[in-house]
Every structure is written in C-alpha cells, then in structure tokens.
Amino acid sequence: MNDTIFISKFCKISQNCVTVNVVPSFEVDKSIAFPYFIKEAYKYLGMSYSKFFKMDNLSKLGIATVEFLLNAENKPDISGEKTGIVLVNSESSLDTDKAYQKTISNKTDYFPSPAVFVYTLPNIVIGEICIKHKITGESIFFVSKSFNSTFLHFYVTDLMERQGLNSILLGWVDYLDNEFISLFCLIKKSTEVETDKQVINFTVSNLDKVFKNL
C-alpha cells in the first residue's frame, strides 16, 4: 500500500506579483522591469545569497519562487537524495540564448561571455536550486508548449513510488523579454505531511486545477 501523495502549497510569480495558493504575498508595480522587481523580491525575502545576482533571469525567477514556496511551507528540510526536481517550460533558455548570441554577433567586438553561456541551458535553474538547497536527488527539465498534467502526474508518481523519492519540487518557469511566469509546488508523501486541511491530493485533475493558474 503506497503512501498518499499530496500537493502542498503552490506559489506563482507573474506580472510582478507573488501569490501563494492564489493569495497575494508580495507585489510591486507592474510597470517595473523584471530585474528591479526580482531584486525587490530578494530583499523582501531577506535573502543573503550573493550568487543570486550572477544568475540569469530564468534562474532568479526559479530560485525566488522556491524561496517564497518554502517560506509558506515553514521552511521544510528538502535537502538530500530523497528530494527531486521536475521543471517544465516552453521557451527553454531562449532569453539567455539571445543574450549570449549578442556577445558573438559582432565580429569586430567579439567577446563570448562564459558567465552568460553557462546559463544557455534550462536545467541550470535546477542546478542553482540544488546548490542552494543541497538537493541531490533526481531532476529533469522538459520543454513543452503547455503543462501536461497527465504525463507529469505519471512521472512524479513514478519518482515517488518507484524511484524512492519523498518530495518533488514540480514547477513551470518561463522567461523571455521581460515576460515571465512561474508556478511551483511541493509534492510530498503523506508521512511527510502534518494533518493540514490545505493539502491537495495529487491527482491529474488537481494538478490541472493548480496549473490552470498559469
């Protein structure tokens, strides 16, 4: 008999607004560009993590979303081999790809940037989250036009029931040209969750309901 699997809280960031379970948690004027918004979010979170400012926009968005989510969950310990990460988006690392392309497009001012190049892979967001939270479990980055609840429900369930993981950070995180949206949730097993009326059973239809907020 398998443990029951739950979706704990979910955090969404879009249009300079952070919501946790659709309740606004932090907001900045919509006219403000992402770099300034995310810096305000960083300060609001009370983060002290200088690596943050070396990250590209996609990674900053991912890291901040996880931070808001974990705060809302009373900062559970998700370190170790038993936590996995599954992220999806539609634009891959295109925003940073374009930024990198700029560093090589002018042959008379040709200075390819290694610090930009390293972020031209979407799974670097996962890497940054793993480094910050010391997560050494399985992880994977899918690229998809839209969030596929049926497949992702299967994949996450497999990770928890057959690959031995206890928690999964499941999220959508997209960034391109100052347009951005992220939505992360924490999937946990019932032994890991205190009795809490806020938990949602991990089913395809509930996953659909959570991610319809995208």
Binding site: S50, K54, F111, P112, S113, P114, A115, V118
Partner: protein, 85 residues
C-alpha cells in the same frame, strides 16, 4: 596606478554582477579567489574576457593567468606592464 585600480574595481563589480559590493569594499591587495571576494572558476573566465575587452590585455597561459588574477593590484600591474611593451 591608483586610477587604474579604482577603474578596475568598478569594471570587476559590473562584469561579475557583484551586486552587494562597492569599490570601497574591495581591498586591492587581497586575494580575489578562495578568500576575499571568493570568486569562482566562471568569474576567473569572465575576468579574462574583461581584461581583453576593456584593457586590451591577453593572458598568455593558464599559469600566467593565476598570477595576474591574484588580486586587483596584480591585474593592474599586468595591464600597465603590457602597455610599456
């Protein structure tokens, strides 16, 4: 030399996105790696690009690179030495 060092500090902060660091926080003689600013391997590569792009100084070998990138002062010295050549 002093002007170059101050200029370098500003450029380093910009190139490495050292958001929470101001020029006065950087000790020109302190090591840049392991201690001091605690820069990493990617930062080292970006500094190599910075030296080429803004100061027209190309690091000849990896060994030379370690010496040049030791501190802001050694970077400034290398730039000045190359200008004399």
């Amino acid at each position: 030399m002093e002007e170059l060092i101050e200029n370098l500090k500003i450029e380093i902060i910009k190139a490495l996105n050292l958001e929470e660091v101001s020029p006065s926080d950087i000790d020109a003689e302190a090591p840049l790696f392991l201690e001091g600013l605690g820069l990493d391997s990617i930062d080292a590569l970006e500094l190599i690009v910075l030296l080429e792009k803004k100061y027209n100084f190309k690091i000849p070998t990896a060994e030379e690179g370690k010496k040049v990138l030791y501190s802001v002062k050694t970077m400034a010295e290398a730039i000045l030495a190359s200008k004399k050549a």
